[in-house]
Each structure stands twice: as C-alpha cells, then as structure tokens.
C-alpha cells in the first residue's frame, strides 16, 4: 500500500481511472482515521496513544495497484474540490436521461391552433342569413364554444363547420 501526499494521490487516482477505462474496476474507500500508526495491543501495556479527531483515510485500487492518502481538516476543502472534479470528469460512462427532457420540450412548444372564422352572407336562404364558417385544422370546432350573441345563433350541420346567424 503506497501512502502518498494529497496531490500525488489525486494524480495517481487519475491514472487509475484512465487505466480502467476499457476494462476493470476502480474502488475508492473513505474512512475516518484517528492517526494511529501502531496496531491495537491485545493486552498488557495500556495504550499511551492519543487519538486525533480531524483526519480521514482515502484509499483507491484497481484490484492490483493500491494507493492511499490521509486528509486532515486543513486540506479537506482543497482536496474535496479537486476530488469532486476528478470524479465528475472520469465517471462519464453512464447513461444520460434525455428522453424525459425531450418530451417535456415538445409539450411546451405545442400551441393551440387558432380556428379561422369566416362570416359570409348566404344568398339561397328564405331570409337573409349569414354563414359562419369555422375551420380549425383537421378538427371541427364546436360552434357552441364561440362567443356569439345568444338567441340569434342557429347551428347548421356541425360536421360541415358551418353555422348560420340570423340577424
């Protein structure tokens, strides 16, 4: 196990990621570290060891090569930023979710078609009438939805999209 300085560790970690791009796994382990350098004694002399509270151990391996580093409070801000950038830059082989965002976009751009309305006099009726032609793309518009004066509105056959207004 190679114990490195924070910067060297990050460089070596980059190398590990690059090496494992075509095959293999990168394992990273994070653990709180109390600074002990000697193994815990089974019994006998009481530990004259003062544990520190502000360190953590970072290990990385590809199954063959092992590297590690110790990070303390003073270095954590700088290390964590560099570490985050490194992870984000190298862990880019994962699936991106475009499907959801694409369908959302198409829904927003859909606009309601404005129906075209034409009012024209109809000559072949007993009384003077007006034909109200309503066309809205491929769908027929319900003439009841239009704002026309009540009582003066009379529907024609709806599927032709024509309506007669008697004034």
């Amino acid at each position: 196990m190679v114990l490195l300085e924070n910067d060297s560790f990050l460089t070596e970690l980059t190398r590990l990621f690059q090496k494992c791009r075509t095959t293999g796994t990168v394992y990273i382990t994070l653990k709180k570290y109390d600074g002990r350098t000697k193994p815990v004694p089974r019994k006998g002399n009481p530990e004259t060891f003062e544990p520190v509270d502000n360190k953590c151990l970072i290990r990385a391996t590809d199954g063959k090569k092992k590297i590690s580093t110790v990070v303390s409070t003073k270095e954590v801000i700088k290390f964590q930023m560099a570490y985050s950038n490194l992870l984000r830059a190298h862990m880019d082989g994962l699936k991106k979710k475009d499907k959801k965002s694409k369908s959302k976009k198409t829904k927003a751009t859909q606009t309601v078609e404005k129906p075209s309305v034409h009012l024209s006099p109809v000559a072949n009726t007993p009384s003077v009438g007006w034909a109200l032609h309503v066309a809205a793309g491929t769908s027929s518009v319900d003439t009841r939805g239009l704002e026309v004066a009540k009582g003066l509105f009379q529907q024609d056959t709806l599927h032709t999209g024509r309506a007669r207004i008697f004034i």
Binding site: R21, T22, I28, L30, Y33, D53, Y83, L94
Partner: protein, 86 residues
C-alpha cells in the same frame, strides 16, 4: 444488507449510520467504466447499505454525499452536529 432504489432514503440512512459510530463506518465507491455502472456502499461491518446506478445524473449526487461524509470525518465531532439537508 439492503439495496436502496431511492437515493433520498439511501442518503439519509447512510448519514444516520455514520453518526451512530463514525470510527466504524467506511464508505466504498465502485466504478466500472466498461459496464457503465457505479455503486456506493456504506457499512459498519454489521449493517450494509448499498446503492447502484447506471445514470449520469447520480454521479453528482454520489460525489456530493462523499464530500459531505468526508467533511464529517475531518471535523471535530460534537453530538449536537447539525446535518445539512440538500
């Protein structure tokens, strides 16, 4: 040894487990570029919480949680430590 489907639940359980015994808990990250998946494990050797993903959007979440736990590890431990909620 639960495998979490929801990131929210995993994140909360991981923080809770860490706070019960910081010295015992370790965090393991496993990345396979050739298979395009990423997995995170938080364990104290009794309880093991795992989260697996193949989505690019989870990389940022995982990396943020790692940073948070790292900061917890290097800070002076106090029982009244407040947990930041994302």
């Amino acid at each position: 040894m639960p495998h979490y489907q929801s990131w929210e639940e995993f994140s909360r359980a991981a923080e809770k487990l860490y706070l019960t015994d910081p010295m015992k808990v370790r965090v393991v990250l496993k990345y396979r570029h050739c298979d395009g998946n990423l997995s995170m494990k938080v364990t104290d050797d009794a309880v093991c919480l795992q989260y697996k993903t193949d989505q690019a959007q989870d990389v940022k979440k995982i990396e943020k949680l790692q940073g948070k736990l790292m900061r917890f590890m290097v800070s002076k431990e106090t029982h009244s430590m407040t947990m930041e909620t994302d």
